[in-house]
């Protein structure tokens, strides 16, 4: 099956250099991005599952190895632009602990490390394009040298779609968080509905975990057959 990649509405994506996020002005290219025709190189893609296996789908732990924090389960569905699920899609997730501290050695935030929390997961989607991440709700944390920018609780996701140009790296936010309103990253997306799609939905749960649902929509749809 051939897939095609179409241009996106720029309002649904960040522009590049963003107000309130100083690093973007040092790193986003100053020259306009070039457009190119799509060949087999861009419209095929790696089978990353051959190199990237599942390594963790549960960051919360059990018994006396339980991570601290609100226990949550995030149900993420990976779909393409046709709404078709992507079974076998590889999904990477990472986030900070309940106190706002990452496992990364570059994190200098003065918040406690949780010895029972390791915030990096890699999952493979099942038949319906679904992955489930059992974890704890991440905390908020201040961004250094920004004069009061606090990141709201969020989970980073990295996913591969069907072709090279379907690659998606993004962040998922939580509903009802006051910091969502002022976050320079979430608000770099100018279209309100596009921002709201980056916020997970809390769904009723009878289990001991708060359950959130979320969609990752990767680029690409079935190519229209050429009429000749």
């Amino acid at each position: 099956m051939a897939f095609q990649i179409e241009r996106r509405d720029p309002l649904t994506q960040a522009q590049g250099v963003e107000a309130g996020y100083a690093q973007t002005a040092r790193r986003w290219p100053s020259q306009p991005l070039a457009r190119r025709p799509h060949s087999v190189a861009e419209l095929s893609g790696p089978q990353v599952g051959r190199r990237l296996g599942e390594i963790r789908g549960d960051l919360a732990g059990y018994g006396d190895r339980r991570a601290l924090g609100q226990l949550i389960r995030v149900r993420v569905r990976v779909l393409d632009e046709d709404g078709a699920p992507l079974p076998g899609a590889v999904v990477e997730a990472w986030h900070c602990n309940a106190a706002g501290k990452y496992i990364h050695p570059n994190d200098t935030h003065d918040a406690p490390v949780d010895p029972n929390f390791y915030g990096a997961a890699r999952m493979v989607a099942g038949d319906s394009g679904l992955v489930e991440l059992r974890t704890i709700k991440p905390g908020a944390y201040p961004v250094p040298d920004t004069g009061g920018w606090w990141r709201p609780p969020h989970v980073h996701f990295s996913v591969w779609g069907r072709v090279w140009l379907s690659r998606l790296v993004t962040q998922m936010f939580f509903p009802g968080e006051p910091l969502n309103e002022s976050d320079a990253i979430l608000n770099a997306i100018r279209d309100r509905a596009a921002r709201e799609r980056c916020i997970a939905r809390l769904v009723p749960s009878r289990s001991s975990e708060l359950v959130y649902e979320y969609q990752l929509v990767v680029r690409g749809r079935k190519a229209n057959p050429k009429i000749s």
Binding site: R8, T24, R26, R27, V40, V169, T170, V218, R221
Partner: protein, 163 residues
């Protein structure tokens, strides 16, 4: 049903180190392996630590669907901004000159940056889309080593693509 692609957002500064380890070698001991090295810099030429680079390329025969060759790799820059891939030189394919597709992910990049490395100045429909085409052509440092530096902004800025 038509869904709108999810908004991209930055990788941030805390991409787990384990995710970028052990994935830079696509060559699997091939006798004709090559190295692709380079340095990633921002405005004013400052080098960048822990930039995540992913590549996608054809095999030596120009095939993108060879089950014996991954075609994909990932590396992160070190504290001096340097990265290294080991791979094989891709073949030409379907009107495309031999090339390696690069994707750059980093803190401060709200969207992934796409660029393409070529081995020599060639007739190619993607290379033809950029003005500073010499910046997409790797420098051959030794018979088996190519240098492809990536400047995100300013100076000899690397050409990037939007699709």
């Amino acid at each position: 049903m038509r869904l709108i692609p999810t908004a991209e957002m930055t990788l941030g500064p805390f991409f787990p180190r384990e995710f970028a380890q052990g994935l830079h070698d696509l060559a699997a001991g091939a006798a004709d392996a090559i190295e692709i090295i380079g340095c990633v810099t921002e405005l004013d030429g400052r080098t960048l630590d822990n930039v995540v680079l992913e590549i996608w390329q054809a095999d030596a025969a120009g095939r993108f669907d060879n089950p014996e060759f991954p075609g994909w790799g990932r590396a992160a820059t070190d504290a001096q901004g340097n990265y290294l891939f080991r791979t094989v030189r891709p073949g030409a394919c379907a009107g495309r000159a031999p090339h390696v597709n690069f994707l750059v992910l980093y803190s401060g990049l709200m969207r992934q940056l796409q660029t393409v490395m070529f081995f020599e100045n060639s007739e190619d429909p993607v290379l033809a889309c950029v003005k500073a085409r010499e910046r997409l052509i790797a420098k051959r440092e030794t018979p088996n080593r190519y240098r492809f530096d990536i400047r995100l902004r300013g100076g000899e800025e690397t050409p990037f693509f939007d699709d």
